[in-house]
Symmetry: C3
Subunit: 154 residues, 3 copies
């Protein structure tokens, strides 16, 4: 079984500090074996990056970097809550929201940046389902946000 914590080290990936709520909510709630995480943005040391829209001011590569950064923020949150990413038995659900123009259609390519990182860290056995939306706008004007539901314990 792959250890996501070991893989992080092997890949030289460093997690950002866990995001703090932008309002009156919490970042993680566990109910039974499911851990729900709040939506995470592409924050670098707490500062929103990749502000703009795909198909307009943001290109494919920027979108991919934004997804990758958003998922790193989500994983940082998960680690802060669970102590270790190795407590995750399965990633159940990933929802990727992209701020896009109405004629953008490369959602899968952009969202794959988040999914591929999960694959590299957790291995194929823990891969989640996925939904990708092209939305009108996201908090702080960023072009990507991610939501995860994780399974922990059994």
């Amino acid at each position: 079984m792959v250890s996501a914590e070991v893989r992080l080290g092997e890949l030289g990936v460093e997690l950002p500090p866990p995001p703090v709520p932008l309002g009156a909510y919490v970042e993680a709630v566990r109910s039974g074996n499911l851990l729900f995480l709040s939506g995470t943005l592409p924050l670098e040391l707490g500062v929103p990056k990749f502000v703009g829209r795909l198909g307009d001011s943001m290109n494919l590569e920027q979108g991919r970097l934004a997804c990758r950064l958003a998922i790193l923020n989500a994983l940082s949150l998960a680690r802060a809550h669970l102590g270790s990413l190795d407590a995750v038995t399965r990633i159940v659900r990933s929802t990727v929201s992209l701020a896009t123009t109405h004629d953008f259609a490369l959602h899968a390519k952009v969202a794959d940046a988040a999914s591929e990182l999960l694959m590299n860290l957790f291995g194929p056995e823990k891969m989640p389902t996925r939904m990708v939306y092209g939305v009108s706008s996201l908090p702080a004007g960023v072009c990507a946000a991610v939501e995860l539901i994780l399974e922990v314990g059994a």
Copy 2:
């Protein structure tokens, strides 16, 4: 432990009648300890209010009132299904959708109107995770909608 039912009285907040489905679906489904609610709109006696878009025909304060009204409709639904809001052991997830222009960025401030009401009624121990989207349009043209997943019993 805070009683949401007592708090409603203390705050003088009255719940609207529980919304009825606008189509071929149901308003609440319980599975295990989770109660999933359908998305709720800012309905006043069943009539959609706050029709428009944030960043355009709807301002920040209208958006906040719309969120507050939508969450009151959700709580009315929860009470209708559970008998009492005090059966809620945790609010697991809140999803706030706002109809916005593409350059709107004040999602957190608007969604906080819903989150703050939950905080005032349920207390900090039951606060949910949150995701806020800026969407293109919502049913009936309203500027805000809310979805809740609640934990009930254990």
Copy 3:
């Protein structure tokens, strides 16, 4: 109790082949008694149909056909994963995303095409909660996508 498999035959509805992932994710994850499905598009033999936006290049009837086709893809996925649709004890959640102009407001009428099919196949006892969003864009440019959370076993 209604058998969805029997009903499919009675209604002469044929399920399309189960969709395959467009990226680095999986199509179904079971955790406890919940089966999460990835978002499904209106695919015909794997080809995206109903490309466009409601309120613009797609009309109400096309939106309804797109929803119906997307939900058939979701059911095909569920059957591929579970062996039979009769393993579904409840449809817990349906999320319908529609690519729309910002002044579109007939979400409920469009989404009902998916909900009515579920009703016809599974009967009123298994009907899900629902949320409908009008989004800016969807993967591959389609005008509708569907996500289901199913309950299986007890």
